[in-house]
Amino acid sequence: DTAVSQTPKYLVTQMGNDKSIKCEQNLGHDTMYWYKQDSKKFLKIMFSYNNKELIINETVPNRFSPKSPDKAHLNLHINSLELGDSAVYFCASSQDNPQEETQYFGPGTRLLVL
């Protein structure tokens, strides 16, 4: 059973296009996240949602818009893709419990903008 799944696994697209990445978790968690991992493997939080509500929005261009239709799903839509958006995007989830802060990561979506 896959705990946190993402689709697609690979995404190759042209500059200026709009694309979406989907994330689903079957762990019953309340909180979901999007992270960006750059070519140097640095992991940076982008967004955090708790029970479908945006909690954290780091300094991310407005071209990135997360959407949470329910607490098991957190999708990421990117408008007007730029070369610098090329990275691996990870979705993660955790329980809203200070005693259990483990974040479970998906397998990642490798985005290449040409």
């Binding site: 946190v4 955090s48 802060e101 483990t102 974040q103 479970y104 998906g106 990642g108």
Partner: protein, 113 residues
């Protein structure tokens, strides 16, 4: 501003040796310090975590040492194995409404046979 500084950037250890990765932080509000392990092509996965109320936590071959006064913590991998070759990230989060992990920049560990 890098809130969690991790070193070294890369590390080569012989099989059976001890791998040591260090992290330092500035934010005294941090109260949860996990280590994540990431294999190529995979997402990070929690390896071991510690809270400031203890100075050491051991799980199998993996040990976290925590020095609250120095604001430093480290991961020790005893009897390192080739299968331990991966990128290791330290992280930290605050005890506030919703935990957000701040990651170090990662250490690429290669354990040679």
């Amino acid at each position: 501003q890098q809130q969690v500084k991790q070193s070294p950037q890369s590390l080569i250890v012989q099989k059976g040796g001890i791998s040591i990765i260090n992290c330092a932080y500035e934010n005294t509000a941090f109260d949860y310090f996990p280590w994540y392990q990431q294999f190529p092509g995979k997402g990070p996965a929690l390896l071991i975590a510690i809270r400031p109320d203890v100075s050491e936590k051991k799980e199998g071959r993996f040990t976290i040492s925590f020095n609250k006064s120095a604001k430093q913590f480290s991961l020790h991998i005893m009897d390192s194995q080739p299968g331990d070759s991966a990128t290791y990230f330290c992280a930290a989060s605050e005890e506030s409404g919703y935990s957000t992990l701040t990651f170090g920049k990662g250490t690429m560990l290669l354990v040679s046979p």
